[in-house]
């Protein structure tokens, strides 16, 4: 009875667009959903540093290198903002990281694809960050206060990421024949995984119902995907690249682009750990965690020593 009343009061707040804060009462499912969603989002930022880290030492100019370094540093920062938000839900960062390390938690499947050429740095910034931004702009209005605040900060920083990627691919698209081919090849490989980043169709998405009612999600997977496609087609056209979808066509009546069928078998195969780089990404993360052990130990020893000094003094 008590819980029914609390649930009604909770829903009334959500309906009135009042944010939920960490100490407020919330249904257990709301808490669980957010723990899962925010930590997956955080893990994606952290693992997302790897495909770009792959090109850091091979960037074609000093400018390209500092830009890429700044972008990767932002991603580490975004991961930390998100772990902070996730921790307010009563679970520690250590626990979330443990779930990533043991593959209990997922991260965005897009990062399980390899980055084979410099043009891929363009495609990742333009398409992968572009898709992420569409999702994150919508999440700025999510009902959980700490998550919404994190998203506002992330969106502010993220807009340079997409522009730097588009600049790279645009430069290559107007370069030599070989460079143009490389740009088109990057678009070919990243297009479908990018539009699948928004997740399954609404009709097949088990988490949409409550998430929309509780305003965790402010738009559905299909709405966000459509908005990304509508924005991106023109950007491909003006740099002379072709989106690899023969069914892509402007639909005057709907005011949107129609597009072809996505390969959901591949999507689920990659989600379940069968992506081309799935094993490598996790192993690299775990190695980095192991290799950093002495740093954590040294930091802890130093802090213990400071505390003893204070006591003596």
């Amino acid at each position: 009875m008590e819980d029914v009343k609390k649930l009604e009061a909770f829903q009334a707040k959500i309906d009135a667009e009042i944010k939920i804060e960490p100490k407020d009462w919330m249904p257990e499912d709301y808490r669980k959903h957010l723990q899962r969603q925010i930590s997956q989002h955080a893990h994606s930022e952290i693992i997302g540093m790897q495909p770009e880290g792959n090109w850091l030492l091979r960037a074609p100019s000093l400018r390209a290198k500092v830009v890429l370094l700044a972008k990767i540093q932002d991603e580490a920062g975004h991961g930390l903002y998100l772990y902070s938000a996730a921790e307010t839900l009563g679970k520690s960062r250590t626990e979330y990281l443990e779930e990533l390390r043991t593959a209990k938690a997922k991260y965005s499947s897009i990062f399980n694809y390899p980055t084979l050429t410099w043009a891929d740095m363009g495609a990742v910034g333009w398409l992968v960050d572009g898709a992420a931004i569409v999702n994150q702009v919508s999440l700025q209005r999510t009902s959980y206060g700490p998550y919404a605040r994190g998203m506002v900060k992330i969106c502010k920083e993220e807009s340079f990421h997409q522009r730097q990627g588009y600049e790279i691919i645009a430069d290559m698209a107007r370069g030599s024949e070989a460079q143009k081919e490389m740009a088109q090849d990057a678009l070919n490989r990243f297009w479908w995984p990018s539009i699948m980043m928004f997740g399954p169709h609404d009709s097949d998405s088990p988490n949409t119902g409550n998430a929309v009612k509780w305003k965790i999600k402010r738009a559905t997977n299909d709405e966000l995907r459509q908005s990304f496609i509508d924005k991106t087609v023109h950007q491909a056209e003006i740099i002379g690249l072709t989106i690899p979808d023969p069914d892509l066509k402007w639909n005057e009546a709907k005011g949107h682009y129609d597009f072809g069928k996505m390969d959901w078998d591949e999507f689920w195969r990659v989600v379940k750990g069968g992506g081309p780089c799935s094993k490598q990404r996790l192993k690299h993360y775990n190695d980095a965690h192991e290799n950093g052990k002495w740093v954590r130990e040294a930091a802890k020893a130093y802090s213990d020593k400071q505390l003893t000094k204070e006591k003596v003094a």
């Binding site: 009462w25 920062g77 250590t94 443990e98 994190g150 900060k153």
Partner: protein, 98 residues
């Protein structure tokens, strides 16, 4: 999950003054094992784009907060004191600059 030992250090809340003259504003938190590391991490994490001129870091444990359950009784005493706001007072017609 309680068998996992925490490797992240305690939480520090971060406050940034964006320019002289303004109040320090809460921007988020981070983990660090000592106050110097907390300050340096805060600089790297929260001021990558000239967001501030001064940073405070405060151990999370040091903060005492009111709780939502007590909100009503805690803030209630001020709800019926409209005489604390200027619009409560009736000014003579035509009075200016007041």
């Amino acid at each position: 999950m309680s068998e996992i030992t925490d490797s992240q250090g305690p939480i520090w809340e971060v406050f940034i003054q964006s320019k002289p003259g303004l109040a320090h504003k809460h921007v988020g938190n981070l983990h660090a094992t000592d106050e110097e590391m907390a300050l340096q991490n805060a600089r790297d994490l929260y001021t990558r784009r000239q967001e501030g001129t001064c940073i405070w870091v405060v151990p999370f444990e040091a903060i005492t907060s009111s709780t939502p359950e007590d909100d009503e009784s805690f803030f209630e005493p001020n709800n019926d004191k409209a005489y604390r706001t200027p619009t409560h007072y009736v000014m003579p017609e035509g009075a200016k600059h007041i």
